[in-house]
Symmetry: C2
């Protein structure tokens, strides 16, 4: 359908979704070799077209500067030659990943001779709504192609020129190896209306993955009739049990809070067993303080460690994503688990303990995508888990939970081979 | 919270959901032994309380007769001593099934020494909205308990007295082995309002499974903010390829259409390759006709087999669930796949062929929960697949696709065990 002036935005967008779905057919059965050739073409094209990409990016950057975009966000937005090279390398890493499509998960022969196989197939058409960094455009498109899925992209408005150029580069690159470019679509030219239609494209888009802050994710969850995978919110706790080693506790806390404070697997609240509070808090909070962490603590903690600002109910609910931490004392493992159950976003929760019974209880009873004993919460990550790539970290229970790699972008299909069997 | 007159239906229902969630904690970590003891108590109680159950059922049956419930539906509704015995046997079958909870799906040691395990955990609280047969109440509650999930039930209004008694029997039975009866909740006493609040209980109910007709399922999909698993719609096709064996085709068609016409895996549309239409149609349609099947066919089919009613566009879309079948001729495998892609509900699709290339193309290119070669579509069934029990047949792509057994009622959790590891 030609995109003429007489068509409504709705018509144009739905036509794009239909083209994505139509084109996803051939991609869903493309060989690994062909999909890897498309990825290689993308990696090459990114470098070859880097001048055009940088120039589009400069337009976004100067618009951002005019609109008062913070220096930190301008830095996240910036693409230069070296960052484009890194993007191309990331695409080549996806080439090296095993292709999940066609993998046999279960199978066997039924008593009547029917041969049964459950195999991985693509989901169909992915919808991804994301903010800020334009490298997500390339990352997600690469993972979609490798997993045999078409993708509809809605990027942040601050990166609109960059993303438009990137999508053009990606589409031309895959067309050059005869993969239908319609498997990559963007709705950025329709602003909010694009996101709105994606959320209502049930039957055309198979799953929506919002990547961004709390507001974005909650909007998509509330509004979408397309199934959503919630990602990335992390109100993460570490509980120091009575038997915790002070030095291990300090090292893990410093790592989990300060190694990269702005990410979802950084710790936000510290819980300490009352019987160990006087032993552990001065050491642990002293070390955090040295790293510039602001401690938000209740009165009982401040009686032990005075260099803290008073905590309110709001602190237990807050994902700071900054050099801040909330601290309180609990009477028991049960109270720690109850606090976590009340405030956790069910991303990552950890206990530091030397007590095997308490370690196992914490692992069994805490309900989260990842539950850890004596390790930094920063390890909840597709790269660290050995997935080679990460689409996001699911904090919901259906379909995928925790870091999502290529297999999490697939569905399954039962293949049944017979020679005339009928049911008795 | 006491359920007094001053509470709104909303308050009462949300309080029930909260109690289910609270009680699901202990059930989620209950041992297999304890869960099986609860199931054994249920099986015993059903038989011991059969008089009360039958008497409640008789009230539903006489109300049904007054309200003009069809004889077929009255039969589906009826529970007598022998059917209650069969229900108790079905519960004991669930005892025999392996417990999915705690099963390790993936795992290993990371380079830094962290030990990683992905284990199955319960989803939490299931919501099930169903129609007609009261045995679903017992089946679903048993499968929920075995998989460590609490369950909120909304049964058909025609079975309200039976279901109320069954829920009471179930709750007393599990309480007798010290499992909190709050893990089983019903909202039947609130009519439509109960179903409405279930669909909006995001955060309290983890997944909604509608079991019933098209209208019920589409209402739940459109209205629910709780994630939904769509089940059971089956606009099922069988394609007779050019090389199909006529006798095999006739036997499979008769089985797929007439063995149990009212179920979702029964065939609804027959597609025949043009080059084989004159050879196959008289045999196959003749055999269907002998079994009382009404053939709805387009003109080209009626030119070959005249004993048919004219088909309209609506026939290709219809899941008859009766002794009716739509028949048309296609020019090629591609055209068969395109017809299926357009009209299929993506439940089960089959090809009858002797051509290995076409068989493999059909398996690869048709998008459905189950795709079959030379077998009756009636085999798409948890029992036939060897799952031992079936919650429903998912026709969606996220989380579960095809027959759902106990593992499909679970989520996963990553357990990470370290000895002080921090991220570099």
């Amino acid at each position: 359908m030609p995109e003429t002036q007489t068509l409504s935005p709705y018509d144009v967008l739905v036509a794009r979704f239909r083209r994505a779905r139509q084109a996803s057919r051939a991609l869903s059965i493309a060989t690994t070799k062909r999909k890897n050739a498309a990825l290689e073409a993308i990696a090459l094209a990114l470098v070859q077209q880097s001048e055009a990409i940088v120039s589009a990016n400069e337009r976004d950057l100067s618009l951002g500067a005019e609109n008062g975009l913070s220096m930190a966000l301008q830095d996240r937005l910036r693409l230069d030659g070296s960052r484009i090279g890194a993007l191309a390398d990331a695409v080549r890493n996806v080439i090296a990943l095993p292709d999940p499509i066609g993998q046999v998960i279960r199978g066997g022969r039924l008593p009547n001779g029917l041969r049964l196989e459950q195999v991985r197939v693509p989901l169909g058409v992915l919808g991804v709504i994301y903010e800020a960094r334009p490298n997500v455009t390339v990352d997600i498109a690469s993972l979609a192609i490798k997993s045999g899925n078409a993708v509809v992209l809605r990027g942040g408005s601050a990166a609109q020129n960059t993303n438009a150029t990137l999508v053009e580069v990606l589409r031309e690159a895959i067309a050059s190896v005869e993969i239908d470019p319609e498997v990559i679509q963007t709705v950025d030219d329709f602003g909010r209306e694009g996101a709105h239609e994606m959320m209502h494209a049930r039957g055309l888009i198979d799953v929506l993955i919002p990547r961004g802050g709390h507001g974005l994710i909650q909007t998509v969850v509330a509004e979408s009739t397309v199934p959503v995978i919630e990602t990335g919110e992390g109100n993460v706790h570490i509980f120091l049990d009575e038997s915790a080693d002070a030095e291990m506790a300090a090292e893990i806390l410093v790592n989990a809070k300060t190694q990269r404070p702005s990410v979802c697997n950084a710790v936000e609240t510290l819980l300490v067993h009352r019987a160990a509070a006087e032993r552990l808090l001065p050491v642990v909070l002293g070390r955090l303080r040295e790293k510039g962490v602001v401690v938000h603590a209740d009165e009982q903690v401040r009686a032990i460690f005075s260099d803290a600002v008073p905590a309110t109910e709001r602190d237990w609910e807050t994902e700071y994503m900054s050099l801040d931490i909330a601290v309180t004392i609990v009477d028991s493992l049960d109270e720690a688990i109850a606090h976590i159950d009340r405030y956790s976003s069910r991303h990552t929760e950890a206990i530091i303990t030397n007590d095997v019974h308490n370690a196992e209880r914490f692992l069994a009873e805490v309900d989260a995508a990842a539950v850890m004993v004596n390790a930094s919460t920063r390890f909840t990550d597709g790269g660290e888990f050995g997935f080679g790539a990460e689409v996001g970290i699911s904090t919901q229970k259906l379909h995928a939970r925790g870091p999502m790699g290529l297999p999490e972008l697939t569905s399954t299909k039962w293949l049944v081979r017979g020679d005339g069997q009928v049911r008795a």
